[in-house]
């Protein structure tokens, strides 16, 4: 018996709207299709109407989890257009936040993977420890999610001695915890049984379908923009690219936990070698007509911004390529011949960030042609009305 299950746009496994149509036979998936377009905000069009400064905060809001990634990718591109170089201390702080964000994103992913596999204790523990890094980020930048630490020509907040000490302490805690999660992820039998062999993506397929980030690295492709195209400080930092050969969800988990441990190393290196000096240089208001391709390794894979300036204080074109979008063709491939039970895991394994992937269309009043915003009191009035006029015991004939 063949039938199609709609996973999404609203589904408990998906934290953001996307539609996966699965054609299944019994419990086995025969075909998969991904439909996007539920989360468009028209960012690329909007960016053409905003100034360079305003666009920092706009790009930051492409995504909630990797907010710093998009802002940094944008800012390092615009700095090249404006021909300014941030001071070294500023750069170090900027990429320190980058790595802390990677830590927070990967810990979040571990929890989500646990939850999708029905392993709620793992979820609770990883998210508890994620609070440590969230607090560090809040301390550095002043906010927990949208750090807004980037500005054109450097960063906006400096680090003092006390904060550096606190970060070191936090990293020590996180390191022991991550090593513990590595042990769990690799040896808890029910968890491993769920992850191993699920969502197979061979190296050739991963290459052909342009997978990026941990998804590609778990298939044995050693692709990491931080190594291949070292932006800013990454050519000074010693670190390894983490790969796995198992090509499945377990491999993706292992890659992410190893990357966590690598990130702690990078953070400690950055803090130990933090140079003295300014944190920002003054940026001009306009940029000369030019174009730049900015690449950045976000927690989910390669971020790419193509920025073109036309001499004004606004960009001519800002093209954003988020890593999740690049991983969709690979996801469809992975889902085929899996089980229904594996759908959330496989889909979660690319660490999907749907608001990253979809950002291009203006919100036009879609179906009804008009938009209505209700006040709370009006909403309550409507609910009361609905309750008073409710159909009298339609078909819910209660036998009592």
């Amino acid at each position: 018996m063949k039938f199609t299950i709609p996973i999404g746009p609203q589904h408990p496994a998906l934290k953001e709207p996307i539609s996966l149509r699965m054609t299944v036979e019994g419990e086995v998936i025969k075909d998969a299709d991904i439909r996007l377009g539920y989360n468009h905000r028209g960012l690329e069009k909007l960016a053409e109407e905003k100034t360079w400064i305003q666009n920092i905060y706009l790009t930051e809001r492409i995504c909630g989890i990797c907010s710093h990634s998009h802002a940094t990718c944008y800012v390092q591109g615009v700095e090249k257009l404006m021909e300014i170089t941030p001071p070294k201390r500023g750069n170090y702080i900027r990429y320190l936040v980058s790595e802390l964000e990677r830590v927070h994103s990967h810990l979040l992913w571990l929890g989500v993977a646990g939850h999708e596999a029905g392993f709620d204790s793992f979820f609770m523990y990883t998210w508890r420890d994620r609070e440590v890094v969230m607090d560090l980020l809040e301390m550095i930048s002043g906010n927990r999610v949208h750090y807004a630490i980037n500005t054109l020509g450097g960063v906006r907040r400096d680090l003092d001695e006390l904060q550096i000490k606190k970060i070191f302490d936090g990293l020590a805690v996180l390191r022991t915890r991550s090593e513990f999660y590595f042990k769990i992820g690799a040896s808890e039998p029910t968890f491993v049984a769920r992850l191993a062999g699920v969502g197979y993506l061979s190296r050739e397929k991963a290459l052909a379908l342009c997978a990026v980030g941990p998804t590609a690295r778990a298939s044995g492709i050693s692709a990491d923009v931080r190594k291949d195209d070292p932006h800013a400080v990454y050519d000074e930092i010693p670190f390894d690219v983490c790969t796995a050969d198992s090509c499945d969800v377990l491999g993706r988990t292992v890659v992410r936990i190893k990357e966590l441990l690598e990130s702690y190393k990078i953070c400690e290196f950055l803090l130990k070698n933090l140079p003295a000096g300014d944190i920002a240089v003054k940026a001009p208001k306009r940029a000369k007509p030019n174009e730049v391709v900015s690449r950045y390794e976000a927690p989910r894979g390669e971020n790419m911004h193509y920025i073109k300036s036309n001499g004004s204080d606004k960009p001519e074109r800002l093209k954003v390529r988020a890593p999740t979008l690049a991983n969709y063709p690979a996801t469809v491939e992975m889902l085929k011949s899996g089980f229904i039970a594996d759908i959330p895991l496989i889909f979660a394994a690319i660490d999907p960030c749907i608001c990253c992937a979809e950002r291009t269309v203006e919100l036009v009043n879609g179906r009804t042609g008009e938009e209505k915003i209700l006040r709370f009191s009006e909403l309550r009035k409507l609910a009361d009305q609905r309750f008073k006029n409710r159909p009298v015991k339609r078909n819910a004939a209660w036998p009592f």
């Binding site: 400064i53 905060y57 609070e131 930048s141 002043g142 906010n143 906006r156």
Partner: protein, 147 residues
């Protein structure tokens, strides 16, 4: 193959204090650089409109009320504010910024009108030799109405 690797960790935590904070009853301290809600020191503001120009959310509105008396009115739409503190960075007054962020974070309201804050003020004269004035205390206006 090991069985129940997680078990010792779980049992260890059974007799520990929970890590969660009983939120609405107990509150955590925010760090000193926390970006809460922006507010204005109307006695310092020189009405240069730098904040209005740079605000990414178009949440700040400065209008001239009376050109002759140099009276201005400023509205901060907190329902649009994204709490990025760019207005504080853009503010050119020295050494005390006319825009500042407070530490409030429980700023939800039932009505978007309650989130609007406005000031009417006379433009301050920008001083070249800025004498270190005592930082003015935040006006009570910054408390958003919780009706």
């Amino acid at each position: 193959m090991k069985v129940a690797v997680f078990l010792p960790e779980l049992l260890r935590h059974l007799f520990k204090k929970p890590n969660t904070v009983d939120y609405p009853f107990k509150k955590l301290e925010v760090p000193k650089d926390f970006r809460g809600t922006p507010f204005l020191h109307p006695d310092i503001c020189i009405a240069c409109r730098a904040c209005e120009r740079d605000c990414p959310a178009e949440a700040i509105e400065i209008t001239s009320v009376n050109e002759a008396e140099k009276k201005f009115s400023m509205v901060i739409h907190n329902d649009r504010c994204v709490h990025c503190a760019q207005c504080v960075d853009s503010c050119p007054t020295n050494p005390v910024k006319a825009m500042e962020m407070d530490h409030l974070y429980e700023i939800a309201a039932f009505d978007r009108h309650d989130l609007k804050m406005d000031w009417t003020f006379t433009r301050a004269v920008p001083k070249r030799e800025a004498k270190p004035a005592a930082p003015p205390s935040p006006p009570s206006k910054t408390e958003p109405a919780q009706s």
